[in-house]
Symmetry: C3
Subunit: 267 residues, 3 copies
C-alpha cells in the first residue's frame, strides 16, 4: 500500500494521486494521510508523520513538505525494514524513519531495529520547477511501490547513499530535572483543536493532580472531561507528550503559547 | 467495506486509518465519510450520519464523535441487518441505526425492519486516554470487519447487551398543525453553505409558493435558482426537511437563526 | 477507476460516495479529486479539472459543479477515448475534455486526438431537486463505470447527442504581442496559497530575469526559493502559466489582483 502526506492544501494533491494511480496497480490501497500539514514547516511535518505513519502496515509513504523545491536539495527514498519513505532531503523523513525502525524492533521481539537505508532519487528537467510532488516524488513513490520495497536497489533512478549524508532533523528534546521537579521544553505544534503539544514527556505528570505551567497552577488530568468546560488543563496527549489544552476551547490562546515557545512545568 | 466519520479535523484520522489498514484486508474498501463533523456535537453528528450512511452498501461504519472520551461512557457496536456501527455509547449511533433498519425493510420489500442488536466493546488501558478512535474504536471496527458483521457474537471483545441499555438520542420532532397551517420546529444543523436545516418536514411546503418564516414572508421554491442571487428562500433540502437558505449566500445569517433556534412556518 | 470532484464542501460528498460504492465493484478504485473547488464557479472548476484529471489513468470522472441545479440544464456524459466525464451541461467539462483528447493523441504517438462524444443523461423526478450529485450524476457515473466507457451507448439512460449542442466554455486566452514585448491576460484562479494564476503562457518569461507586471518590476524566477521570504515574484506554475506569487505569502494580496483582473506583463 501507499500513503501520501503533504502541505499542498487543495486541489494539488489530486494531480499527484493521478500520477500514483497511473503507476500502481488498482488493487493497491492508496491512503491520504493529510494534505493540510502546516505549510512549509519541516519540523511540524516531521512531528505529525512520526506520530501517524507507524500505525500503518508496511507501505510506501510519499511525503511532500518541501519549502526548498527548486533549489538543489536532493530527492531521497529511505528504506526502514518493510517501509519506504519518499520525499525531499530536508530532514522531514528522519524522525519518522527512526520511529519506524524502533517500532519494527519492538514488533518482532528482537529489539533489533532495522537499519535505515538511503537512496538518492535522480531526476532531470521535471515538467515543473515548483511541483516536484507531481513530477519527481510521486513518480518515484509509484516506482518503489511497483518494484517492491525490498527491490529498491534494482531501480535505475535510485542510487544508494550513506545515511550520514542525509540532512538530519531531530525534534528538540525537553530538559527534565527530576530532583528539582522541573521540566523545560517547548511547544512543538498546535493542532486543529488549539491543543499546544509540547516536547515534555508525559511521565512528568505521573502521580500529580496539578502542576505549575510557566508559573501558573493548572490541573493535570487524564482527559478533557476532568475539568469544566472552558477550563485549562494539562494532560498526556495521544502522542505521549504533555499538552496544554482547554476543555472545549483553544489551549494555545488560553496559555498564551505558540509553536517554539518555552514551556516550563514544575511539580 | 468500512466507512469512517469523525470530528477529528486533521491529521488525527490518519492514525486511525493506519490502524484500520493494519486489520482489514487490502482488498476491502475504506471510505472517509467526513472528519470535520461539528466538533463534539453528538446531535449534529447523529443528523449527518443518518442522512449519509444509509446510501452506502452494507458496511462497518466507524463513528467517533466522543465528547465523553476518558469518562466511563461505554464503547459499543450495533448490528442493523447487514450494517454494523461502532462508536461511543452517547446516542450518536441511534438515529442512523433506526434509519438503516427502516431502509433495509423497504429495500427487501418485507416492510419488516431488522432488529437493532447491541454489543458492548471491552477494552483495557488504551494507550491514550484521549484518543479512543485510534486505540479502542478503530481496532474494534477492524475486528468486526475482519470477522464479518454476521459473526459479531464470536468476538471476544464484544458482549451482547440489551438495546434498551444504550444511551438513546432522538432528533427533536417538529410540531405540525395542519388545521392551523402552522409548523413549529427548530434548526438542527447549519451546513458549510450556511443553509439552516430544520426538523420541519418538507411536506409543509407542498403546493405553496411562499410561507411565513418567523413572521416574515419568504418564497418557497424547488431550488436555489427559483430566486435571485442574494435572496432568501425556503426549500426542501436533500434530506427531505425544510431549509432556510439564500441563493449564493448564507441562510443562517439572513434568517438570523442558529442551531437550536425556533423556526415557525405558516402557510 | 472512478474520480469524484465537486464544490460540495463537507459532508455532502459522502452520500454521493455511498451511491458510487453501491454501484461499482469493491475492487474498483474511487478517488476524491477535491470537494472544495471554488463554490458554484464553473470557470474555476473547468480550470482545475483541466489541470488535474489528465494525470489519471483511464477513468470515469464525476464532476459536480452545478450552480444551475434545479433549472432545466441538461445532465451529460462525455466520452474522450478511454475516459468518461459525467456532470452538468454548463461547460465545466469542456476544457478538460479537450485536454484529455490532446493528451491521448500525444500518448499514442499518432497525434490524432480521439473525438469527444456526448450523451444526454435522462432522469425523472430525482429524490431531491437540489442534490443531483447524489440522485442523478452519481448514479449515472456508477452506471457508466459498471458498463464500461466503451459501452456507454448500451445504457438506457444515455442518448447520444451532437457535441455541438453542449454548452461550451473556453478559458480566456491571453493576448501575446511578441514584437512589443507585452502580454495581456487575466487572473484565472487564486489557489489556496494565494498564488494568482493567470492565463499568460509561461513562455513569456523565457530568458528574462524580471518583467513589468501591471507597470511594476518583479523578478521572474524558476521557483519561490529564487527570492527572499516575503518578496514578490512571477514564475511559471505547474500548469505552465504565469503566476503572481509571494515567497511565503499571498500573491493575490501583494499584487492586488483577484480572479478576472487584468494582468499585463512586459519584458
Amino acid at each position: 500500500m501507499l500513503t501520501f502526506a503533504s502541505d499542498f492544501g487543495s486541489p494539488y494533491p489530486a494531480a499527484v494521486k493521478g500520477v500514483l494511480c497511473s503507476t500502481v496497480d488498482e488493487s493497491a490501497r492508496i491512503v491520504d494521510v493529510a494534505h493540510d500539514l502546516p505549510r512549509q514547516s519541516v519540523r511540524a511535518g516531521a512531528f505529525w508523520l512520526r506520530e501517524t505513519l507507524p500505525y500503518f502496515p508496511p507501505a510506501v509513504h510519499l511525503v511532500v513538505i518541501d519549502p526548498g523545491v527548486g533549489t538543489d536539495r536532493a530527492a531521497v527514498a529511505l528504506r526502514v525494514g518493510d517501509h519506504a519513505l519518499v520525499g525531499p532531503d530536508n530532514g522531514v523523513l528522519r524522525p519518522v524513519a527512526r520511529r519506524l525502525a524502533a517500532a519494527q524492533a519492538t514488533d518482532d521481539g528482537t529489539d533489533t531495529a532495522p537499519e535505515i537505508e538511503a537512496f538518492e532519487i535522480h531526476y532531470e528537467n521535471p515538467a515543473s520547477a515548483t511541483f516536484h510532488g507531481r513530477d519527481v516524488f510521486g513518480p518515484a513513490a509509484g516506482e518503489v511501490h511497483a518494484a517492491g520495497v525490498d527491490a529498491m536497489e534494482t531501480l535505475d533512478d535510485l542510487t544508494p547513499m550513506p545515511v550520514g549524508d542525509l540532512v538530519d532533523l531531530d525534534l528538540p528534546a525537553a530538559d527534565v530535572d527530576e530532583s528539582e521537579g522541573r521540566a523545560t521544553g517547548e511547544v512543538l505544534v498546535v493542532d486543529d483543536f488549539g491543543n499546544a503539544i509540547t516536547n515534555l514527556p508525559g511521565t512528568v505528570l505521573d502521580g500529580v493532580d496539578s502542576v505549575l505551567v510557566n508559573d501558573e497552577r493548572v490541573p493535570a488530568v487524564e482527559s478533557f472531561a476532568g475539568v469544566d468546560r472552558g477550563e485549562r488543563l494539562v494532560t498526556v496527549g495521544s502522542h505521549g507528550n504533555v499538552e496544554c489544552d482547554v476543555n472545549h476551547g483553544r489551549g494555545d490562546e488560553a496559555f498564551g503559547v505558540d509553536v517554539g515557545d518555552r514551556v516550563v512545568v514544575e511539580w
